[in-house]
C-alpha cells in the first residue's frame, strides 16, 4: 500500500481524540476525528476511511446505532472502544457488524495490532482471492478439501468440530461472539446454548493446541466469544 491508510476516530472525549490523532499520525496513518455520531457518519460518507475507531458512548446517539448505520452501506472495518462495564453493548455492536473491540483503558500496542489485523482482513475481503489454505502455528486448514493437519499429521475432526474450526478460521483475526458462532455453526435457534460452544472449543483445543491450557490458536475473548489467531 503506497498511500497512507485513512483512519476515522469517533469519540466524544477530546483527550482521547488528541492522543489518538498524535499517536496514529506518528505511525504514518492519515487521521480524521469526530466528536459526535452524526458528524462521524457524515465524515465517513464524505471521505470513506479505511478503518473506523468508534466509541460506544456518544453524546448524540448510541455507538451501536452508528455501527448499524455504517453497515447499511460500507464494509469498512470498525473497531469498538468501550469501558469494561458495557459488555452487553459490545456484544450487540459486534453482532451488528463491528469487527473488533478494545476495552478502555487500552495500551497503544494493542490498538496498533488490532488496526493491522483489521486492515489486512479487509484487504483480503476486497481481493477476490480468498485463501482456501489457512495456517496458524503448526496447524494447516484446507477449507476446500476439509483436511486439517497438525505438524504434517492429519487431525481427525467430527463434522461439527470442522464446521466450527472453518467458521473461526474463515474469520481469522476477527472477534466472533458466542451468539454469532452458535447461529452459524449450529442453528440460530441454538444461539443461547453457550455450553455446546464451550465443550466443542475445548475438544478442538485438545486436538490442535500445543498447550490446551494456554491456547494460542483459538483465543478467548472474555465474556464475548473467540478469536482465531493467524500467523503474523
Amino acid at each position: 500500500m503506497t498511500t497512507q491508510p485513512h483512519i476515522l476516530v469517533i469519540d466524544d472525549e477530546a483527550q482521547i481524540l488528541r492522543a489518538l490523532r498524535t499517536i496514529l499520525t506518528a505511525k504514518q496513518f492519515k487521521v480524521s476525528v469526530a466528536g459526535r455520531g452524526e458528524e462521524g457518519l457524515a465524515l465517513a460518507a464524505a471521505q470513506p476511511p479505511d478503518l473506523i475507531i468508534l466509541d460506544l458512548s456518544l453524546p448524540d446517539m448510541d455507538g451501536v446505532e452508528v455501527c448499524a448505520r455504517l453497515r447499511e452501506w460500507t464494509q469498512v472495518p470498525i473497531i469498538i472502544l468501550s469501558v469494561r462495564e458495557s459488555e452487553r453493548d459490545k456484544v450487540i455492536a459486534l453482532d451488528k457488524g463491528a469487527d473488533d473491540y478494545l476495552t478502555k483503558p487500552f495500551g497503544i500496542d494493542e490498538l496498533l495490532a488490532r488496526i493491522r489485523v483489521a486492515l489486512r482482513h479487509s484487504a483480503q475481503t476486497l481481493g477476490t482471492q480468498k485463501s482456501q489454505i489457512i495456517s496458524a502455528g503448526n496447524v494447516v486448514i484446507d477449507l476446500a478439501s476439509h483436511v486439517v493437519t497438525r505438524e504434517g499429521q492429519e487431525v481427525k475432526l467430527t463434522a461439527t468440530e470442522f464446521n466450527l474450526l472453518a467458521y473461526l478460521a474463515a474469520n481469522a483475526g476477527r472477534v466472533l461472539t458466542n451468539q454469532s458462532i452458535l447461529s452459524h455453526v449450529w442453528d440460530p435457534a441454538e444461539a443461547d446454548r453457550v455450553e455446546y460452544l464451550r465443550v466443542y472449543i475445548r475438544q478442538l483445543r485438545k486436538k490442535l493446541e500445543d498447550d490446551p491450557d494456554h491456547p494460542c490458536i483459538i483465543r478467548n475473548e472474555p465474556g464475548i466469544g473467540y478469536r482465531f489467531i493467524l500467523d503474523e
Binding site: 462495564e85 458466542n178 446454548r193 455450553e195 475438544q203 472474555p222
Partner: protein, 498 residues
C-alpha cells in the same frame, strides 16, 4: 352468640316483656286453679308456688316485668284462691298477713333475682368485649405490614360486631400507600348491605385523620358498650399503624445513616487510594517532560512502566468501586452463562500480570472441570482481587496457588493460597467486611474493598467464601454452584461423538 338468643329478638317489640309477664301469670293461675280446695286452706302453699312466675320473669325479662308479675300474682292469689273467691275482699286477718308478706317477699325476691341476672349479663357482655379486644390486640401484635393490620382490624370488627360487612379505609400519607379492606360475612347474606353503613367511626391519630371503619349490620343501633368497644378497636388499629410507620421511619433513618457512614469511609479510603497512583504518574511524567535532566534509556523505561502499572491499578480500583456501589445498592445481579473456570482464571491472571509478577503462580484448574453457571466478569474480578490481596500480603518470590475441584457433585470448590503470615483467628471472620484491615491502613495500599466485593459476588452466585490459616500460609476458599435453576448443562463433560 347473642344473635341466637330469642329474647333479644323479642326485645324488638317494646313492652313485649310486660305482655309476656301477664301471660305467664295467667298460665300459672290456670295451672293452679284445678288444685283449689273449697275452703281455700291451701293458700299458704299457693303463695309459695306463685313465687315461681315472679322469679322466672325477673330472671328473663328484668326488674319491671318481675314487679308486675309480683303484683299480678298478689291479685290473682287474692282473687282466685282466698275465700271469698272472685273478690278482692279478705275476711281473715291471717289471710291479710299472708297476702302482705307474699307481696313483700315476691317483690323483694323479684328485685334481687332481676338485679343479679342483670349484673350477670352485664358482666358477661364486658367479658365478651374484653375477649374481642384481646383477640384484636393479639392479631395486631407483631404485624409489620400496613395491609395486614388493616385486614386484621376488619376481620376482628366483623366478628366482634356481628356485622354483615365491614370496610376499613386508610388514606395514603407520605410514603405509606392507601389501604382498603372490605370483608363480608358469607353466612349472613340477608343482612342489609346497602350504600349507607350502619355505623362509621374515624381512625384518628395525633396528626389528624387516618381513615375510617364502616359497619353494616341488621341490628342498626350499637349499644353504648358496643360503641365504646368500637372506639377502642379504632384506637388499637391506629396504634398498630402508627407503630409500623414509626418503625419504618426509624429503619429508613438507620439505613441512611449507615449509607452515609459507608460513603464517608469510602471517600476517605478512596481519596487516599486514588492519590497514590496519581502522584506516581504525575511525578514520572513531569520528570520525563522536564528538560533539565537527561534520562538514560533504563531510567525512562522504569518511569514509564511505573506510569503503566499505576494506571492499571487505578483502573482496577475504579472497577472495584463500581462493583461495591452495585453491591451496596443491591444491584449486583450475575449475568450467568456456562463458563469454563479455566478460561476465567487465565484471563484473571492475564489482567493481574503486573501485580503478581514478583510471585510464582501455580495453577491447578483443569479445563475438564464441569461448566459453571457464572458471570464471567464478576468471577474474574473475584480472582483478580484475591490475587491482588495475596500478592500484597505475601513476601516476594513466594508462591500463590490456585486450585479448583468439584465438591459433592453440585459445587466447585476453589482455593487461592499464598505464603503470607497467618492472620490472627479473631480477624479471620472479619476480613471480608468493608474497610476492614488486619494491618494498619498506611502500611499496605488498598481500598479495603477487595475482599468484601469477593464476598458480595460469591454470595450473589449462591456460593460461600471463607478464609483459613494454613500450616505455611493463608488460603481463601470459595464455592460455586454447578446448577443453574436446578439444571446442569445438557451436554456431557466428556468427549463428544457424532
Amino acid at each position: 352468640m347473642m344473635r341466637l338468643n330469642p329474647l333479644r329478638r323479642i326485645k324488638a317489640f317494646p313492652g313485649s316483656e310486660y305482655l309476656l309477664a301477664i301471660l305467664l301469670t295467667a298460665v300459672f293461675t290456670l295451672i293452679f286453679l284445678p288444685f283449689r280446695t273449697e275452703g281455700g286452706q291451701d293458700h299458704t302453699v299457693l303463695s309459695l308456688l306463685y313465687l315461681l312466675p315472679v322469679v322466672i320473669s325477673s330472671l328473663l325479662w328484668g326488674l319491671g316485668p318481675g314487679a308486675l308479675v309480683a303484683v299480678l300474682s298478689f291479685l290473682a292469689l287474692n282473687y282466685f284462691f282466698l275465700p271469698p273467691f272472685y273478690t278482692l275482699l279478705v275476711h281473715r286477718t291471717q289471710d291479710l298477713i299472708v297476702l302482705t308478706v307474699f307481696l313483700i317477699v315476691s317483690i323483694t325476691i323479684g328485685q334481687l333475682v332481676g338485679r343479679v341476672s342483670k349484673s350477670l349479663s352485664e358482666t358477661s357482655a364486658r367479658e365478651r368485649d374484653a375477649i374481642h379486644l384481646y383477640e384484636l390486640i393479639i392479631h395486631l401484635a407483631g404485624l409489620r405490614d400496613e395491609h395486614e393490620i388493616v385486614s386484621a382490624l376488619a376481620e376482628q370488627t366483623l366478628i366482634a360486631f356481628h356485622a354483615g360487612r365491614v370496610d376499613v379505609l386508610v388514606e395514603s400519607q407520605g410514603s405509606s400507600p392507601a389501604n382498603h379492606v372490605r370483608l363480608e360475612d358469607r353466612a349472613d347474606q340477608g343482612t342489609a348491605t346497602g350504600e349507607t353503613p350502619s355505623y362509621i367511626t374515624p381512625l384518628q391519630f395525633a396528626r389528624g385523620f387516618l381513615g375510617e371503619i364502616k359497619i353494616w349490620r341488621a341490628e342498626t343501633a350499637l349499644s353504648p358498650a358496643e360503641e365504646r368497644l368500637l372506639h377502642t378497636f379504632a384506637s388499637q388499629g391506629v396504634l398498630a399503624l402508627e407503630r409500623v410507620r414509626l418503625s419504618q421511619a426509624a429503619s429508613k433513618a438507620r439505613v441512611l445513616e449507615e449509607s452515609d457512614r459507608f460513603k464517608s469511609s469510602l471517600l476517605s479510603s478512596v481519596s487516599h487510594e486514588l492519590r497514590t497512583p496519581l502522584s506516581t504518574i504525575k511525578a514520572a511524567v513531569t520528570s520525563l517532560r522536564s528538560g533539565t535532566v537527561e534520562w538514560d534509556t533504563e531510567a525512562r523505561v522504569d518511569l514509564l512502566s511505573a506510569v503503566e502499572e499505576e494506571t492499571d491499578h487505578l483502573n482496577l480500583l475504579v472497577g472495584n468501586l463500581l462493583n461495591m456501589s452495585r453491591i451496596e445498592a443491591g444491584a449486583l445481579k450475575p449475568e450467568r452463562s456456562w463458563n469454563l473456570l479455566a478460561d476465567i482464571v487465565s484471563s484473571a491472571l492475564e489482567r493481574s500480570r503486573q501485580q503478581i509478577e514478583s510471585h510464582k503462580i501455580e495453577v491447578d484448574v483443569s479445563p475438564d472441570l464441569p461448566l459453571a453457571p457464572v458471570d464471567y466478569f464478576q468471577i474474574e474480578q473475584v480472582f483478580i482481587n484475591l490475587l491482588s490481596n495475596s500478592a500484597k500480603y505475601s513476601p516476594d518470590n513466594s508462591t500463590i496457588g490456585i486450585h479448583a475441584s468439584t465438591a459433592g457433585g453440585n459445587q466447585l470448590k476453589v482455593t487461592v493460597q499464598n505464603q503470607s503470615p497467618p492472620v490472627p483467628e479473631e480477624h479471620i471472620e472479619r476480613i471480608f467486611d468493608k474497610f476492614y484491615r488486619v494491618t494498619a491502613a498506611d502500611r499496605v495500599t488498598g481500598s479495603g474493598l477487595g475482599l468484601s466485593i469477593c464476598k458480595g459476588i460469591i454470595e450473589a452466585h449462591g456460593g460461600r467464601i471463607w478464609a483459613q490459616n494454613l500450616d505455611k500460609g493463608f488460603a481463601f476458599n470459595f464455592t460455586l454452584p454447578l446448577e443453574w435453576e436446578g439444571h446442569k448443562p445438557d451436554i456431557g463433560q466428556e468427549g463428544i461423538d457424532e
